[in-house]
């Protein structure tokens, strides 16, 4: 089933792609990148940002595994801040 989260995660990348992340204290290893896309922010809903450039959000949908069972995880990176979130997961 799909679950939606907004938890901050710590992500290690290689060549821009996520390879490992830590969520709720567990380490996940990325096995495969299923999909990668970007989206602009909904700048018209947000309070006036300081910069003229609203910046984009980057999504990585990956197969990752903490131990044996594999799940699909969607990681979101905010280009303006460089911060990562776990936005959804399918298990």
């Amino acid at each position: 089933m799909t679950r939606v989260f907004g938890d901050p995660v710590e992500v290690w990348t290689s060549d821009g792609r996520p390879v490992r992340f830590v969520w709720r204290g567990r380490l996940y290893t990325v096995r495969r990148v299923l999909e990668h896309w970007v989206a602009t922010r909904d700048w018209w809903r947000e309070p006036p940002p300081a910069a003229d450039v609203p910046g984009e959000r980057e999504f990585w949908r990956v197969e990752a595994t903490p131990e044996r069972e594999t799940g699909v995880y969607e990681l979101r990176r905010d280009a303006a801040t460089g911060s990562w979130l776990l936005s959804r997961l399918w298990d």
Binding site: W37, V38, A39, T40
Partner: protein
Amino acid sequence: MHLHVASAYSLRYGVAQPRALAERAAGLGMETLALTDRDGLYGAVRHVRACRDAGIRPVLGADLALDYDGDPAGTPEEGRVVVLATGRTGWTSLCRLVTAAHAARRTDVGPGATGERGRRPAVRRELVGTHSAGLVVLLGPASDVGRAVAARRPDLAARRLAAWRETAEPVLEIVDHQDRGDGHRAARMLALARETGVPAVLGNAVRYLEAADHPVAQVLDVTRRLVPLDRRHLDDRTGHAYLKSEAEMRRVAELGCGAAEADALVAATRRLAERCALDPVRDLGMDRVHLPDAGDDPHARLAARCAGGLARRGLDRSGAAADRLADELAVIARKGLAAYFLTVADAAELVRSRGIRCAVRGSGAGSLVNHLIGISDLDPLRHGLLMERFLADSRPGLPDIDLDVESARRLEAYRLLFDRFGAESTACVSMMETYRARSAIRDVGNAVGLPPSEIDVIAKAFPHVRAEQIRAALHDLPELRQSNLAQERLEVLFRIAERLDGLPRHIALHPCGVLLSNPTLPDRTPLEPSAAGFPMSQFDKDDVEAMGLLKLDVIGVRMQSAMAHTVAEVARVEGERIALEDVPRDDAATFELIRTSRTLGCFQIESPGQRELIGRLQPRDLDDLVIDISLFRPGPVGSDMVTPYLESRAGRREPDYPHPDLAGALRESLGIVVFHEQVLRVVAIMTGCGLSQAEAARRSLAGAKGQAVVGAWFRTRALARGYGAAVVERVWRTLAAFGAFGFCKAHAASFALPTYQSAWLKRHHTAAFFAGVLTHDPGMYPKRVILDDARHFGVPILPLDVNRSAVDWHVEPVSAGGPVSAAPPIPEPEPMPEPMPAPPVLPPVPPDQDAASGAWGASAYGIRVALNEVKGITDAEAGRIVAERPYRSLSDFWRRARVSRPIAERLVLAGGFDALYQPGPGGGGPAPRRDLLCRVGALDRATARPGRGVGEGQLPLGDETGDVLGAGIVEEIRPGELPPMTPSEMVEAELEVLGLDVSRHVLTFYGGLLRGLGAVRARDLADRPGGGEVLVAGVKVATQTPAVRSGQRVIFATLDDATGPVDLAFFESVQERCAAIVFGSWLLVARGRVRRAGARAVSITATACWDLPALEEERRRGGIEAVRRLMARPGPGGEGGGTGRRVVHATGFATSPYADIGHAGDTARRPPARLWHASGGSSGPTEPR
């Protein structure tokens, strides 16, 4: 290497200007760049020129919508393909395909196609097939093939691709904007290409220059769809539709398709771009002029016509004329333009042959050839006009001849030209309307979801500035500083709106350009039908010139129509036939009128500034008018030439020539430089370079760089010829200050003629002149000002009358209109009698004293309010009203004139039935407009009721005898049951319906207040001493912010107070407290000092102003003392502030960035919807008293 690029010329889609794209592409090291705008080639010529300047090669194409082809599996919405041209054949095919796409604007649409898409130009595959020679069809994600791939229908995709291969040369375009699914789709598109052997290239469907521009594209996405911003309405969700470098393109391709394929795609893209690169000369024909076919040896025929012209114009014995003609013909021969002159002569003759008034304007009047072959009526030798300003070896491009025709018959003239030169060879020119502050605020406001009423208020608060000036204007302008708009919540609105600056938003018919060419025209320009139905080039006036197409400007001039109407009215009523061209040009009475500055309605000399200048200059002949028109320009004003000229003219000082050699060139203007022609002569005399070279130098004066070059050259040459350093320096300073401003004398001379003619008509056929001016509205003032001027000239205003009013304003002998001669003298400024009955005919102001004293006597003719003035009336309704006359009653009218209910009501309210229902002469009491209004409602209900059988020819309203409505079917409304309208209600109704205060001047209702305050009337101002403080009041009829010498933004406002115009100047020092009121109020009170500018010319330097209804409100609350207290209160802001910056031109002439723009708020041309209700609960002004 980009093959799919939309510029801003993809309306409401692309963000970047072609020039910016070409510069960026060159900066990224690309060697080619395509422009493939949506639905047209609007930006193509700009792109070619921008690429040339950037040193890269242009590719041209178009992004065309696919028509729904009935395929049930297809997606009818927004399927698109890009067609690219290869070589000259491809360019021809592209032009013709785009034209065909517009001709085939789909009307029957598939499911889901609604609104916007219902009327879009579109192509079917077969149509592309008929124009496929030299075209390459790019099939990207938006194509029918791409959509099938995205929908995971490989079978359908393959079938569609096969169909394209049979039709044209397809190439698959791999695009990845990194949206969800883009990568997978790109990989599958590439796989399809590899399976089928169809070539594939990389594209980025570019919409903007850099990623940060995406909010603008997103606003355009929702604006195009008329929806608010929301992700589901966006085409651009990733911000990746920017002009990426080749390396970035390759990296994206590698992500989806692998490194080897990425390299192959880049290489294929480059190869296709190379193949499609167009040569402006060889492929587009931009090196040559494509004139109409003028038959064999046009030059010999032109020379022969000129020789004939010499005899016809009586110049065959003039050596000067012979020399000049030889010179001009030699230039024409060198430039190969004989066919051009023959064509224009043909066109002018054609237009005149249909009795359309037609005059040449501009530099063309300087050419003797134009005079001899009948294009221009002015003899350039007699008026000292030069050919070089018009045509010289040193002038690039085609010369420019403009024809002024009657505005009302401009389209008729177009039709004549289309018939004569052939539909294949003729087209109108287009122009792009671009985003400015107000339109940008409206579209962005809608996109971010502000309520429409708030958007309207915000947009109207801005003057007509550029969108990029929005936040600067908020900061600079006092009327905006006080508007409370500089809020954080509106910041994003303004910031995005500024970025729409200059983007095209709408294509329109250029107001005057007509292309005359040969049957290859459709190979050279795409055409689309204009709103008026004429074929219209997608190129604008600069583009067509670059493409070597001959554009003739046929300019609709309202004054020409007004004069034609005047002449027709004189012929209709008096039987006198006036040939304006033959009227003697030295009529003393006409110049006497001009010297009084009472020139409202006259061509060119009615503005406040011009009336003041005329008052000082006191013109005595046509040459004076030529000078007057030329002096009233930024150049002479900027280099301070007006005062020295006027002083020399008044004999207060000797004309001062910088050097005796220049006396000949400058004598006509007493030593100052006014005309372009004089600049040419001065430069030619002092450098010995000849007039052609001098013209090239004059054109360079406009820019700072050109000025420096010309300055050095001029000094060197003049010093070498022995002119003293001081003289050279002085002359150069004058020339530099003159810059590119100033006026072409040929132009001024061709303007002075209609100026004189209009003044002649005003003087000698006053009533007919006002009928002409009111019908065609040629000037800057609202019609109610002209109407008031007519009153001052003793012309009675005959009210709206369904039995007498014509479609347009007509002249009527006053005896037929009622007892005009018995009109009571006006009591004002003495107290008015208590509410008085509306007189049947209404000249409440007596003729002015000059008029009454017999200068030109009270008019024997009145002017009758036109049906066309009734708000919302259609031509058909007005025509039917006239055709079905006379009417015996309202119900008779209702039955036969068949106008809509609102129009019938407005006719009643504006007094159109008063004459029918007027109690007999002397019977007293106004017409029962309120009763009649109820009857309109009753008639409407009766005739709308089904089953009551109000058919054609039946007379169910039982109203044969006149006044009384039949009983039974129509509800009975007894006359006199409702109170009559008061005079103020009548005026309010007239202003609402007609925009004109016909029965009396709106200011009469404030007599009590104005007397209490001691306001001075316009006609008494001339007797006031200069410098004295006065209070004035009136209806605002014009506001202007012209460029003035100091570079301030000075607001000039003109009030009309029933005795004439009052001209006010608000300098920056008072604008903090005045600007908002000046722009926001319709009725104004102002305090200021009298400034005397001449014998009769008076203006007011304003120091304060107030809203008149607000003061009246205060008076009724607390009496005149309360008003005085209110006026003594200091206004907002106080002194200072100003309007900030100055723009300093290369000539040293400074202007305000807010000069010469439309002002904030509504236009002054019509009264506002709510007139005198300053606040809620006000019951309107008191009765005239």
